[in-house]
């Protein structure tokens, strides 16, 4: 078992140190890792340093570039609307990822059955994530239009009047989450289905303890896919841009603006790329914290699940 909470996915629990005398092997892992590390260093060090450099300047696209130290960060952190947007982004992330995880898991459990025709249904369910987020956002925009959108029509037919999906603040938030959920639940489902392949049919037998079976047999197998799904959905949702930019335009007002949209409008539409970079760095810090917390949390719950699963094993 991996000893540090930071290590997740955990190391192969059976792995032991390599033979120290297998001399040729000592360099082998480094040889494997080297291409990626070299590539990443070569291609990320400069952009990272440069974007940090930009964030310390009053850096405008095609304009002035004056050193202002931490002024961008100071201005940002003292801006109330920035904190409101941070909180909004966090809200969207939490809601979307939670729903995607639960829904994705449910879909996977349903679609995991070995029944004729389910393969086709699975394939259909995967399609949303294959579409360009830009295209998805545009079409959800018209489906959610409060005047002629097809969802509006459904609501009206069901007797709810004409909901203003993208104008009413609460509905606008829900619409953004719904779009993300529609597009990315399939991602979670796919990862879960892969994880579920390891769980044997035997788990279905005992009806009385279905929940226990799920907790003690199914869930442990799913911990790695769950971590990967939650981690990457959190990272990507926290950077959510297209859906907001196109569906609500950040409106009403800027009440549904995410940090990424803010970084885009400030950095690009207003050409203040230095400030845009500062916002981006803030995003990076927040995601880092979120990711670290998630990894720690999941590492712990995985250990517990694995222990549960091992109860009864002889060794």
């Amino acid at each position: 078992m991996s000893s540090s909470a930071g290590s997740f996915p955990p190391d192969n629990p059976q792995s032991s140190p390599e033979s120290r005398y297998a001399g040729q092997l000592r360099a082998f892992p480094w040889l494997l890792v080297a291409p990626t590390v070299i590539l990443l260093i070569a291609l990320t060090i400069f952009p990272l340093i440069y974007s940090l450099y930009m964030s310390l300047h009053n850096f405008t696209l095609g304009g002035a570039k004056t050193w202002i130290g931490l002024d961008n960060y100071r201005d940002l952190l003292s801006d109330r609307s920035f904190w409101r947007k941070t909180w909004f982004t966090l809200q969207i992330t939490i809601f979307a990822v939670a729903i995607e995880l639960v829904l994705g898991l449910l879909c996977a459990l349903v679609l995991n059955k070995r029944l004729r025709g389910l393969g086709l249904l699975r394939m259909i369910v995967y399609i949303p994530m294959m579409l360009s987020p830009l295209v998805v956002a545009y079409f959800w925009r018209i489906m959610l239009d409060g005047s002629f959108g097809v969802f509006t029509w459904f609501a009206q037919e069901l007797g709810f009047g004409k909901p203003q999906w993208t104008v009413d603040l609460t509905l606008a938030k829900a619409s953004i989450v719904a779009t993300d959920v529609w597009q990315w639940t399939p991602f979670v489902t796919l990862l879960m289905l892969a994880g579920l392949q390891a769980v044997h049919e035997a788990a279905e037998l005992d009806k009385g303890t279905r929940w226990m079976t799920f907790r003690s047999i199914t869930l442990p197998y799913l911990m790695t896919p769950i971590l990967i799904a939650v981690l990457f959905r959190t990272i990507d949702t926290f950077k959510l841009f297209e859906a907001v930019y196109i569906i609500t335009q950040g409106g009403p007002g800027d009440l549904t603006e995410t940090l990424s949209l803010m970084a885009y409008t400030v950095g690009f539409e207003q050409s203040r790329i230095g400030m845009g970079a500062a916002i981006s760095w803030f995003v990076v810090v927040v995601i880092n914290v979120l990711a670290t917390l998630l990894i720690m949390l999941m590492a712990r719950s995985r250990r517990e699940s694995v222990m549960m699963a091992e109860v009864g094993d002889d060794e």
């Binding site: 540090s4 291609l43 449910l106 679609l111 249904l121 018209i142 796919l190 892969a194 994880g195 790695t224």
Partner: protein
């Protein structure tokens, strides 16, 4: 134990059919927007904003004609080349790395893994300007190579994490057996470990293709003429100043997603297997 349980399967067959209901329901929820988006491709422009929405209309192929008459097919070819290039390159690197990280304990491994992950965290806005600079230094602006390299950075992190999970599941005895059988570490990797994570590799390839075929912001900045990608062309051709050409956009989106679906169908069996190394399997 993986031993089949045919008796139970027979007994449960009747009951298992009830799974069709939720399965179809779920699919319907995901499929309706797909249907609606797809139907736009066949709708005449004048009725797109009708209310009540038009479910019945005489379909037109004009939108597809528009797509193929525009510069879009070139952009699609570019996108496909870049996506496949990115997928192959990044998954190749990621496979090596994930295996190295999974099989060998070296110090700072967790840091390395987290660093690789953190590359995904940077919003594109922050790196667009530095990348456009770098790409110009190396005289790679508007080339496939630049796009493949840049996209690989964003894709490698996911592939490494995903594949490490798959490699972790391989029983170590499988590889010890191969070593005892007389294979060196590289052959053990290529002949035993890699075949066992084919599902993971297929999944990583699909996600990599999905990411790079759909990415907009970086492509918008780093390409302009020769290597223009499909999403950029979409906004140039179908999202016009005075409105969205819904039919064209839908037709173009369908044309773009088709190869991804085809690829996913081709590797579908691998997408659904994986992470399954029961003790005796």
């Amino acid at each position: 134990m993986s031993a089949a349980i045919p008796a139970n399967q027979v007994k449960h067959r009747g009951r298992r059919f009830v799974w069709y209901l939720p399965a179809i329901l779920i699919t319907a929820v995901f499929a309706f927007p797909l249907y609606w988006i797809g139907s736009m491709a066949f709708k005449p422009a004048r009725i797109v904003q009708n209310y009540p929405p038009s479910f019945r209309f005489s379909p037109t192929l004009d939108n597809f004609r528009q797509v193929f008459d525009s510069t879009y097919p070139d952009a699609m070819r570019n996108s496909l080349i870049i996506a496949v290039g990115t997928a192959v390159f990044s998954v190749f690197c990621a496979t090596l790395t994930a295996y190295g990280l999974s099989r060998h304990n070296f110090r700072r491994k967790d840091n390395l893994l987290f660093w690789i992950l953190s590359l995904r965290m940077l919003p594109a806005v922050a790196v667009i300007v530095p990348y456009s600079r770098m790409v110009r230094w190396f005289d790679l602006q508007d080339t496939y190579a630049a796009m493949i390299l840049v996209y690989s950075i964003f894709n490698i992190s996911f592939s490494v994490w995903l594949l490490k999970g798959f490699f972790d599941e391989i029983p170590k005895e499988m590889e010890e057996a191969a070593r005892i059988d007389g294979y060196g570490p590289w052959k053990v990797f290529t002949d035993v470990a890699v075949p066992l994570v084919i599902p993971g590799i297929a999944t990583a390839l699909v996600f990599s293709i999905i990411f790079s075929i759909n990415e907009f912001l970086l492509a918008f900045v780093l390409t302009q003429r020769e290597a223009v990608t499909a999403p950029v062309a979409l906004t140039n051709v179908f999202i016009t100043t005075f409105g969205v050409n819904w039919g064209g956009l839908s037709a173009a989106a369908m044309v773009l997603v088709a190869p991804v679906i085809v690829f996913a169908v081709l590797v579908r069996n691998h997408l659904l297997r994986g992470m399954s190394f029961g003790q005796l399997d």
